[in-house]
């Protein structure tokens, strides 16, 4: 595996279509979970945030990268080689280099075993230590690296740990493995506010160990806190991407603007002054799009033009970041 490329991960025009049965005359309905998603992650360790609301396709992207789903069309390349090839020929290498942290720390542990087993399994499966002593010192080192005291944690059962500790324990697993890419799917949404910061700080520190991170979230605040680059996804399409400062300080896409002005600021002197209007498009339940015609944001956009209804805008470079909108 010595092919050199500048990208660690690259998604090229990825489309994912789910089909499902509907009540009407057994007709098949088609849902475009992802339409034409392209992005890449540099070989240099960085944190890239993928921000979108529920149902926008965040988790679908996560599953595609891990190879748990196959794209309908398009390519997903890891180090220049398609993920499907990796999984067929070099499964173990791929699993070692690409790791995940799931959202719910309460469901990722087997309640029958002590938590230590998670780390022992990793060491055994990937042959990370020569003997028991080395393994033990590795485990201790990894726990300390994520701010946990090995004496207090080892030998306990999952129910004896708090959500924050469990999630950091999962970080310790990642630390032992030293993957190249970590996919974190909403890792702090189940944690208490007072415990979030410490988890995010450790995740941020992983860059120093050569671990890139794709941080998937619905929360712009935490995305801004830890990431270098950010992508805004809506209804299966990436609408804007760029460096985090650029996108937050100077949002271009109407949806990004709407998101940023909707975030409540924890400061009672700066309350909202504008009002949101209710529109019919928001009324009905939206779960994936059933057409690829037009801009995905057309129905909710204040600046919608005729061209937006029938044509889908492509990504354009505007003022240091990329945006997919006909306004530019």
């Amino acid at each position: 595996m010595s092919r050199t490329t500048e990208n660690l991960l690259e998604l090229k025009n990825v489309v994912k279509i789910f089909t499902r049965a509907s009540f009407e005359l057994a007709k098949e309905r088609v849902v475009y979970a992802l339409s034409d998603v392209s992005f890449s992650m540099d070989i240099e360790p960085k944190v890239l945030a993928l921000v979108g609301e529920s149902g926008s396709g965040k988790t679908t992207i996560c599953k595609l990268i891990l190879g748990l789903e196959e794209p309908t069309s398009g390519e997903i390349l890891y180090k220049g080689i398609p993920v499907s090839t990796w999984l067929r020929n070099y499964m173990k290498d791929y699993r070692r280099e690409v790791q995940i942290i799931f959202q719910d720390p309460f469901e990722t542990f087997n309640p029958f075993y002590r938590v230590d087993r998670v780390l022992w399994t990793v060491i055994q499966k990937f042959g990370l230590a020569k003997d028991k002593n080395e393994a033990e010192s590795k485990i201790e080192e990894s726990l300390e690296a994520v701010g946990l005291r090995p004496k207090e944690i080892l030998g306990r059962y999952p129910h004896q740990l708090s959500g924050g500790e469990r999630q950091r324990f999962m970080l310790a697993r990642v630390y032992i493995l030293r993957p190249k890419l970590l996919v974190a799917d909403e890792p702090v949404s189940m944690l208490d506010a007072s415990l979030r910061a410490v988890f995010l700080d450790h995740l941020k520190d992983f860059k120093k160990n050569g671990i890139s991170c794709l941080y998937i979230t619905h929360d712009l605040n935490t995305a801004y806190y830890i990431s270098d680059y950010i992508m805004i996804i809506y209804a299966g399409k990436i609408l804007e991407k760029g460096s985090v400062e650029e996108v937050i300080r100077n949002p271009l896409h109407p949806y990004t603007k709407m998101l940023i002005t909707s975030i409540p600021v924890p400061d009672p002197t700066k309350r909202w002054t504008d009002k949101v209007k209710i529109d019919i498009a928001q009324l009905q339940k939206v779960s994936g799009r059933e057409t690829i015609k037009g801009c995905v944001f057309y129905h909710r956009c204040d600046y919608a033009m005729d061209i937006c209804r029938d044509n889908s805008p492509s990504m354009k470079d505007v003022e240091d970041h990329e945006v997919s909108c006909f306004l530019y």
């Binding site: 609301e53 529920s54 708090s162 924050g164 500790e165 208490d192 506010a193 007072s194 415990l195 979030r196 910061a197 410490v198 988890f199 995010l200 619905h218 712009l220 605040n221 935490t222 801004y224 806190y225 937050i248 709407m258 998101l259 940023i260 909707s262 975030i263 409540p264 600021v265 924890p266 400061d267 009672p268 002197t269 309350r271 909202w272 009002k275 949101v276 209710i278 019919i280 928001q282 009324l283 009905q284 339940k285 939206v286």
Partner: protein, 318 residues
Amino acid sequence: MSQILDVQDLKVYFRTILGDAKSLDGVSLRVYEGEILGIAGESGCGKSTLVEGILKLVRPPGYIHSGKVIYNGKNLVELEEEEFRKMRWTDISYIPQGSMNSLNPVIKVEEQMIDGIISHIDISYQEAKEIADQALNSVGLPLDVTQMYSHELSGGMRQRVCIAMSICLKPKIVFADEPVTALDVVMQKLNLQTIGELREKFGITVVMVAHDMAWHAEISDRICIMYAGKIVEIGPTLDIFVSPLHPYSRGLLEAIPSLERRFARSIPGIAPSPLNWPDGCRFHPRCSNIMGVCEEVDPPLLEIEKDRFVACHIYGGG
């Protein structure tokens, strides 16, 4: 402002095989007419239990151990269930947590609202229908909604239907438990603003439970911060944000990153268990300003400045 609700030393316990879990352990609180009172705190601190205790919605194995809830000269804790039922919707109403999942999936929105109205006051179907339509209208929902089933609506809209239901019969006070949790930010803003408007439009007093301090910053007049089944601080929203008194309140505010402040700090340690609260001040194992007295004496909630209450030995008492 006159006082509308007075909670006195309310205790709600849950029976477990390991003894009683003292989820709400002696809370005293006054709610004033026409205010929006925010109740903040992290998971497991007793926020929802407080609301359930006030509304007598505690289900077994939970029970109200002791305390009083005075509304209109009556102690709600001792009220007969039937009498309390008549007060629900007309005097006190409730928007439950995850309310978007509390609608009946097999009957239309309008039917459920009419059912509720008719079971609480004695009016005709047609009159009830008008009240329902009016309520939907006042939260900004188009009347198309009346003929829809809950699965046809988005989560945010279902929640608005629940807000509409709660204000149908013009109650004096509405309890909203995490009203915008699990919605996307645009919907959160929309619904939060609607709740904020209940006061202006109908003069309704609102008690809002929410874990996110930013939501309180947007609409609450006063905030009550809870930790480990007790209140640690109560004060006007601005004062709490500008100069939090209790070390826990301070920690909670510093823990939130925002777009304006790329900095956050966690509170060390973990929240204690309701089966075994720490002795003395319940926050002392995690506190950075610990003194000898904190390990032994639980500080009482004292008014140290006008309208500012805090339970901490730093400010005397004990």
